[in-house]
Subunit: 495 residues, 2 copies
Amino acid sequence: MFESAEIGHAVDDDTYKAAVPALRQALLQAQYELKEQGGFPVIVLINGIEGAGKGETVKLLSEWMDPRLIEVRTFDQQTDEELAHPPAWRYWRQLPAKGRIGVFFGNWYSQMIQGRVHGRFKDAVLDQAIGEAERLEQMLCDEGALIFKFWFHLSKHQMKHRLKTLKDDPLHSWRISPLDWQQSKTYDRFVRYGERVLRRTSREYAPWHVIEGQDSNYRSLAFGNILLEGLQARLKAPARGVQQATPPLGSSLDERTVLDALDLTHALSKADYHQQLIQEQARLATLLRDKRMRRHALVAVFEGNDAAGKGGAIRRVAAALDPRQYHIVSIAAPTQEELAQPYLWRFWRHIPAKGQFTVFDRSWYGRVLVERVEGFCEPVDWLRAYSEINDFEQQLTEAGIVVVKFWLAIDKQTQLERFNEREETPFKRYKITEDDWRNREKWDDYRAAVGDMVDRTSTEIAPWTLVEANDKRWARVKVLRTLNDALEKAFSKHD
Amino acid sequence: MFESAEIGHAVDDDTYKAAVPALRQALLQAQYELKEQGGFPVIVLINGIEGAGKGETVKLLSEWMDPRLIEVRTFDQQTDEELAHPPAWRYWRQLPAKGRIGVFFGNWYSQMIQGRVHGRFKDAVLDQAIGEAERLEQMLCDEGALIFKFWFHLSKHQMKHRLKTLKDDPLHSWRISPLDWQQSKTYDRFVRYGERVLRRTSREYAPWHVIEGQDSNYRSLAFGNILLEGLQARLKAPARGVQQATPPLGSSLDERTVLDALDLTHALSKADYHQQLIQEQARLATLLRDKRMRRHALVAVFEGNDAAGKGGAIRRVAAALDPRQYHIVSIAAPTQEELAQPYLWRFWRHIPAKGQFTVFDRSWYGRVLVERVEGFCEPVDWLRAYSEINDFEQQLTEAGIVVVKFWLAIDKQTQLERFNEREETPFKRYKITEDDWRNREKWDDYRAAVGDMVDRTSTEIAPWTLVEANDKRWARVKVLRTLNDALEKAFSKHD
């Protein structure tokens, strides 16, 4: 894999000087087209052997192109806020917006290769990390990102020589930290695991580019050309890649969904309700104060039919708690900043830190519900959303976050009664809009979407709870009890 | 100041129960109007004696109103990201957007009172903190925020009794941390310094409300009523308070400004330029790697005439450095999220952490330049901006941030030549737009605005550097040299 990057590629100074002006101008031109189009973000991952010119090349990039449109990010030591979130959170918060270029040093590949080289974990964990990187990049590309992955290479002999030269040069000696030197000893391991990673993660949508780092002229031109060609090709491509024909999900033979299995007659008497509500609220308050909560976080997702009582259920959950213990995030139309990012970005930014509890009033399931039914996105987008969401929730649960998802279900007649009541009560009128009536006409489409959503995203780690919500009391108690059971189950693993 | 909050206010249960439903409905109504209008943010500061029902009252608020539109924030221990920024940064990042309510526990008042009570500083520092709080609140109100400041009070006797009751109640005993108990001993100091703070910071635009906390019925109704009246009054007020007549800045007798004192014939030969540029670039690279940099950060602000060469100067600064060492922030039209916040919010979010360097390509001075000249804001807004900006920069410099501000000045003829050159060079055409020509017609207005800006915001802690930029070489070297001198001066204070 690295063979052709150890053969002493070089470009003489005259050739280099002749080539650079046109390359620069073309890169700058591409950068401005990118900015004007604002159509996609560019992510440049920088990896490779120490001393192979990674830093110099990125510096050159900032000189050649407009540095105001480039963000260079280094992921060293995690801050305590980063440590309190799932590992991917730090990358999500630094993603470049559409029209901009983000250069990532110390990215997910650096983390996984160094972890393996220094023996912090075995191949199985490395392969897990590889799988996660693949899914992340696939998702980013599906969302429109253009990803370049560069590996700057040196042979062992070249590296030793290069590090010695740098060390002897007073202008550069500060660059070499003790850790870097140590790497000279671990070169073999670094290359071996690097090879494994490159082999597994070089995919058609985001291939690796290996560049020999010995000769700076060669290195710079090779890097610039790859970047330019990739940018130009993408800028010329149609706004959206050719839509792949997506296989249909398959229609149900009898149109029965999980919703049909619900017994919507469930109800609680007023007395039972008050007793059970208070009991479950006290239980939730106690669980959230439990010291085992410090190793977890809680995410509650509320989806449901219009007028199913999401707001009321959320208020009963909140009423159990000190308001300092939770945040409620209402998902509405995305802002400009959110639209300039991949779909899941707007949810990642609200993921709670350890010890915290966040309620999502509507959620990332909007893509497979309202966006699917209303045609706000292409079928290929909501079809891939199922697995992206499952990946996302897996990352949350692996970081100790307990994910509880509610679908509050009512029947069509109950919805009609509640809509009418809202229109008749001055105080509730703000709750009902034209949209609600329009959505109601698509009752069956939503029903099918909910069925698919539950089938495809109700997982052992983050199951859906269907809540019979014709009776509000029943629904509120069931919501609280489910949250409590989920927390207790998570805590019990510590015993 | 607290006398009338120690007289045993109470409301009987029947009266309370009769009053609550209407209050709740009115609060909810006001909250939805606030959301619909989206016109201003509401900030509720919660302070007072331990055990006076602060937490219970906020909890009640979340029950009475829609908790999805309320954000409750607690400012305890600072995270390491917060510690690496100026003290006010943590408040700025948590400000509620327009249309929402932010409830702040552990806010700036808690910090200053507790610091003084526990003897971490003396009255002089307390008074400084008071002054900062006043300026912050004045600015927030000028930007449209509605601020409520609540002090929940108990007499010493009431407090002791209340803490004992809470301690004996198994359901509540967890609430009392050792520190809180300790406060019972420091009650006198807490009240003394609290009084000092309230006296000094109760202003017409954000008065304090002292509420006796003994009786929960009284406390809840008093709190709810104050909130309701304040919200309703503000919702009924005209979109913008009556514009105060603002005194004019005074016109200059001879129309001479600081810009007239510049000698725009300064120039560097190519040879001198190359030698000096490399020298200053190396100096900057060395200074930023100096270990004293860890206690500082660097902010460079670039403003100037169109075509004065800001971009080129910034590139020469960037070229000196490893791209991991700096961020460049280009200020363009604000996003929706930025528009929903006070003006300075969009800059606070980019302020560098300790050890970092941020370049602002255009900046917070937009308000007193383009917004003033183009009439994008009212005179009262840009007139108050001078002191707000001075406060802002003082907060930065007090946190160790070195603030360097450049105005790149060219004459009108030079601008014309550069505009023409841009139009004639295909490669530079993206740099010139209709706006540039329009701005040029307002040359004299901009000139006056720059004169006022320099007069009013060139301070010892953050002086303006006027850069003679007819000669680009001269300008670039001067920019680099000024940055270096500023850093060296800051570092020299450690010797």
